[in-house]
Symmetry: C2
Subunit: 247 residues, 2 copies
């Protein structure tokens, strides 16, 4: 059972302004919730149809399946819905690679990029203020639990780059940049990816030290640019390969 005020809280968290007001966000699905409970995130409350979680008893509410369906935002409700506290982001550490996003709009892309950061050991993800909110439930879902392991910061990207640019190199991916396979790629720096339709904004691009590009092998010359999440995958793999193999 959930109370009327719990129901109101859960439905309000679909909106960014209420997530910000309450400092809370929603996660759904058995696997994701288990990962988040075992992470450094703080659980607020758990609504579940099965007694399979290690959450504190006083925060756990058992539901019937039809009750879970009422509060779930998934097309097929999955065992449980949990509310977690939004963690306080820390100042990014410039001694490792940092990923920066300039106006990413698609929740699936952001979720995939967070998962990639986790895989490649990128601890800090810096997002422009107009990037889609990482506590949007579609993003949380797409991260498959990785959201608990990446420090995600929303800030004015130009200010951040201006402050950091004296300390570390700033890289961006462009259609007409230097070949990533032959450029020198250091172990630290900031790696910027731009909006799905428009790429990196001119005012952000002005702060980039080195423009990079993934070579195209197709003959056609007609190919659209790569999807931003696949471009992120390729760049992170190539940066990490260099630091691993030294070549």
């Amino acid at each position: 059972m959930f109370s009327k005020s719990q129901y109101k809280l859960i439905t309000s968290l679909a909106q960014k302004k209420y997530r910000e007001k309450h400092g809370l966000f929603i996660a759904e699905g058995k696997k994701t919730i288990i990962e988040l409970i075992n992470s450094s995130l703080r659980l607020h409350s758990l609504f579940t149809t099965e007694d399979i979680f290690t959450a504190e008893k006083e925060k756990t509410y058992f539901l019937k399946e039809e009750e879970l369906i009422k509060i779930s935002r998934l097309s097929t409700a999955q065992t449980a819905l949990a509310i977690f506290h939004v963690p306080e982001p820390s100042k990014p550490d410039l001694s490792d690679l940092i990923v920066a996003l300039d106006g990413i709009r698609d929740p699936g892309n952001l979720g995939t990029i967070i998962r990639l950061c986790d895989w490649f050991g990128i601890e800090n993800l810096v997002c422009s203020e107009d990037t889609v909110d990482c506590y949007n439930s579609k993003v949380v879902q797409a991260t498959m639990g990785s959201i608990a392991r990446v420090n995600i910061l929303y800030i004015n990207l130009s200010d951040f780059l201006n402050e950091s640019a004296t300390e570390v190199p700033v890289f961006g991916t462009f259609m007409e940049g230097e070949n990533i396979y032959s450029e020198n790629l250091p172990a630290k720096g900031i790696l910027i990816f731009g909006n799905e339709a428009n790429g990196i904004r001119p005012e952000t691009a002005a702060l980039v030290d080195k423009k990079l590009s993934i070579p195209r092998f197709g003959e056609s010359g007609e190919t659209e640019s790569l999807n931003v999440a696949t471009a992120t995958a390729i760049l992170l793999s190539e940066f990490r390969r260099r630091s691993l193999t030294g070549m």
Copy 2:
């Protein structure tokens, strides 16, 4: 205007069995349709609100916006809907890299993989018979026009691998494979990617010569496997980088 029989044909093509029966599929969106008209694909008919396409006049039908909305499967209908003939796939050429998919279910993943094949000059994509249909409108949409430039074949994957395995090496990605950055990756071969939830099937895995793995850099050890489309991006980049740089 469209006729009643045209309306029936268009709506029927949402289903795979009718796409197969008629040998036709639907593409939507201005950019995609322009790319497909300029490709080797054969146009069947074009329904558009604007006179901006170079399609044959006798195949072009002008619509009012509310008519386009009626036949569109997009949440916001975009200028035009076109019907194309499904091309006859050719036998894959074993002298270059081939991508093979073992039970990919998500249309967005398949579309992204087709776009990646196009970018990396992979001419042949071989799909197990239970892989989602590439002429599904969500897949067509996600390929951004690349679907016209990749030869896509649906076949019994075990038979194909059995026939080809004597000629070229077969690679697959697994959690416990060899590090892709240090393995020898040749310019030709078959590269298999598995289902989103279950990976490569045991009977397919039995035909793999070399198991590969993308190293994980995160500390957590908890990370889920990578999304199949991002794994494909990383593998294709690494195979092509080797053939380009010889290292």
